[in-house]
Symmetry: C2
Subunit: 306 residues, 2 copies
């Protein structure tokens, strides 16, 4: 059953304050603890490896699936394979956060491998929040691997957020878009202390009129390090836009190594990246309104990561 | 002595229609053919390897050095090491093109390795044009390697142009900037046929208030391929701006893989890249003024690469 810590983590990573409506699967310390399927959304355990299949019937509209993961023990290395089948013409929300409360000195690690088949004309919004906490010195590690197949006219909107407290993350996101498919990825990341974060995104625009937009915003504090590799490849008449903005503070380090590759003369690809500190004039303006320097900075960072 | 072909190539790569004023060194088919030093600029052959030392006295102002290279024979693989010493407070122009007329079916290749020491407060403008021609099927290959050391307050402006006719190029440019040094690189490149071009730029901003700007514009036609790796690393309070624009036509392919890396919280780095075709409305506008589609495209490309 869920403890007070579990509930706090569920609120952080999945905005859940009670058992969710609709389909859900709650995984804790490497095991499924609660599950619910609905008439249109079936969740079933995989038979060959840890993880679940989430099957959304064609035409399902306005329903949601929550599949949060909680780790509350040290020395745990959890690996899970989830496969999503979003049926033709469906329109659903998937919420898939992961929170780690590490009480000890040993590492707690979760590796989530998510594969999505978004069928013709289907639409999915996907929200993934990552969060770590715990009084111990044990590292909190989260390595998500996300693979998307977007069929003709399919749309996916991904909101990938690392709130705070994650010591080490290697994010890998890969997508292949067919004709008229559309993908939006919004990434928000905060690192602090001695944390390390790496995000590798590869989007292949294979179908005519496929379009994508990637928006990455990050804040690197203390001695933390961040590396971004967003890549968009245009194989057809298509459009892609990648925008990376990072705020760097203290002794942090940020590298952005985007790639745009046009293999078709009607591919239109744009990339913008900027790394810099908080705008001084914004801090001064907020301080003139009565905030301390620290409060002013905090307010600006919150706005930037919103 | 210089033939009619030699003179045509010198006009293309170094805007030379006669023997230049000031210091110069003309290299043809792997050998120096004419050389001139002045009171302030000494040019002397290296003793340990092919190439020359160009020594500009401190305080030299308004003078120029021309060091064009001509290849007019097939089956030639020329490798040359040139070292430039631009003395404190000097302000000079260096013109260093290379043109290949390959009459045969074997490859003609020139590898120029240029190293620049730009001393305190000195200023250099450097123009390098690359051009290939010739009735034969032999490849024309140009691989320039340029290394720059900019001391405190030094300024360098590089204009690197590949006009046309170069089958294969791997350009490598590396620079290290000390306090208040400033570097501008403008790259212009046209590829056509089955040509391949790669440009790798690494700029390290090590000193406080070092600044750099990289502007790359390219046109890829036919089945040609281009790859760009511009990289700017900020190790101090500094500013860097990289802008890559490519026009892609026919079955050409273009990849841009820029990197900005901030290792200091006062480093301010920005990158922008765009790959796309010629704007259709511009073509239509010029066609409405009486130009054919081909003429309209040509006019736009000329403007873009200017």
């Amino acid at each position: 059953m869920l403890s007070a810590i579990d509930k706090r983590i569920l609120a952080q990573v999945a905005d859940l304050h009670e058992i969710p409506q609709g389909a859900y699967n709650i995984r804790k310390n490497g095991m499924g603890v609660q599950r619910n399927s609905t008439a249109n959304i079936e969740i079933k355990a995989k038979e060959d490896k840890p993880g679940i299949d989430i099957i959304v019937k064609p035409g399902t509209k306005g329903e949601s699936v929550h599949i949060p993961v909680i780790l509350t023990a040290e020395g745990l290395e959890d690996m899970v394979y989830n496969t999503f089948e979003i049926g033709e013409g469906a329109d659903v929300l998937v919420v898939a956060g992961c929170g780690i409360h590490n009480p000890g000195s040993e590492k707690a690690e979760h590796n989530g491998i998510h594969e999505f088949f978004i069928r013709k004309g289907a639409r999915m919004r996907y929200v993934e929040k990552h969060y770590g906490e715990g009084e111990g010195t044990g590292k909190k590690v989260l390595n998500p691997r996300t693979v998307l197949h977007l069929e003709e006219g399919a749309t996916a909107e991904l909101e990938l957020v690392q709130i705070r407290g994650v010591d080490n993350t290697k994010r890998y996101t890969e997508a292949r878009l067919e004709r008229k498919a559309h993908l939006v990825i919004t990434e928000r990341m905060l690192t602090h202390g001695d944390q390390y974060a790496e995000s590798d995104i590869l989007i292949e625009l294979t179908g005519e009129d496929a379009t994508t937009q990637v928006i990455s915003r990050s804040v690197a504090q203390d001695r933390s390090k961040q590396i971004f590799y967003p890549r968009v490849v245009g194989q057809n008449k298509c459009r892609g836009h990648v925008q990376c903005d990072a705020i760097i503070m203290d002794e942090a380090q940020v590298r952005a190594i985007p790639e745009i590759a046009a293999n078709h003369s009607d591919a239109q690809l744009v990339h913008e990246a900027a790394i810099g500190k908080i705008a001084g004039e914004q801090v001064i303006k907020l301080m003139s309104l009565g905030l301390s320097e620290k409060e002013a900075e905090e307010t600006i960072l919150q706005g930037f990561l919103k």
